[in-house]
Symmetry: none
Subunit: 225 residues, 2 copies
Amino acid sequence: MNKQEILIIDDEPQIRKLLEITLESHDYKVIQAETGKQGLLMAANHPPELILLDLGLPDSSGHEILKELRQWYNKAIIILSVQNSEHDIVTALDNGATDYLSKPFRTAELLARMRSAIRQNQSSNTVSCIEIGDLHIDWTARSIRKNDELLKLTATEYNLLSLFAKNEGRVLTHQYILKEIWGVGYQTETQYLRVFVAQLRKKIEDNPNQPRHIITESGVGYRFQ
Amino acid sequence: MNKQEILIIDDEPQIRKLLEITLESHDYKVIQAETGKQGLLMAANHPPELILLDLGLPDSSGHEILKELRQWYNKAIIILSVQNSEHDIVTALDNGATDYLSKPFRTAELLARMRSAIRQNQSSNTVSCIEIGDLHIDWTARSIRKNDELLKLTATEYNLLSLFAKNEGRVLTHQYILKEIWGVGYQTETQYLRVFVAQLRKKIEDNPNQPRHIITESGVGYRFQ
DNA sequence: AGTCTTTTTTACAAAATCTTTACACCTGAT
DNA sequence: ATCAGGTGTAAAGATTTTGTAAAAAAGACT
């Protein structure tokens, strides 16, 4: 089996070196770019399985690079950013980042998130049904089962759960969810989201007070797992 | 036993080659078309057991080809597509696609879905009757029994129940049902559907107020079970 | 034509769903 | 401790969707 390629876009040599050593020792093939521009070129020439993108790049904002990449690149992009930049994180997720990690990060966590993101690359290929924990979602039948028992969801609840399921493990921002489910112009109606998340939790969680599927990421959005 | 014929309609030669090799090694006979038009001709000349149709064709939209095919071809059509948009999927399934797979796909999954689709061909060809709960539908005799008692249905009621029975467990959208029963151009006449669903329920449900066969999926359509 | 059956309209009642409001809760900062 | 910001929950409206009955129209048959 071929090694999976990871592209690192980061201007700090010591970070690149650290990532290189860590990732290669876990059997990934690492390619590196020092600037955003260089990263775009390398990704285009030889699309990697996953991209690690630092937001604080010297030549142009990492956000711009992310947008450019997302115009054609549909595999995982994990954002690396310095702490205390919640706004940056929200913007990045809105622009299609798969996940984010604050520097400094723990390698175990990075590796876990990378595995999850790469798994998504593969699972997003299959469309007609998916199994997540005790949930079974069949998009052709438009049905949701929990432990083989058919759940009765309203159209909006179904759409919301679908969106979550298609982005398993990934943080979706309030804005993004609202745009996807209710359409542009509803991005400030976060209350809708709270109401429907509560309703969904009542239906799919064993214990809605301690949700294990729909996780709140305070100040950012929700993560489904 | 003769090999089963599969028709591939796809403009990308490398995809066709890949499919050809894969399918032939699993004992299918493969025929190929590069354009939608050519595919229609080949299917008409020699109807295959299953069609693999790419949505992104150069000469006309795959959706159009699908519609054309479905006017007379009633065996399995599996859609292949790079797109992953919900809208495309819904449209394709509404237009009569048997199943849907996003590229790139895993061969094991493709083969599994093909087997399932071909199994459906046979069951829908040979099976002349079906038993669902207390209902017995005999398509050759064109008769419906409930607990061995012959029901008297009008032509439209019979068509509607047939459609439901052939899609047991699946949600059928209002639009789809209207198109199938009344034809294109009636897709906005949802009131017809309400009237006939009510009539059917009176005849087949034990308690029409609490239907157990024809389930309403508010805002979407109906599910038969 | 006239009767019978079936389909299409119409009108309104009933149910389900969505939206809004109100308030409780939790967490971290002052 | 108090406060503010974000979050969770229940429940009251408002709105949309669905169900039902029954009349009108359209065929089908004798």
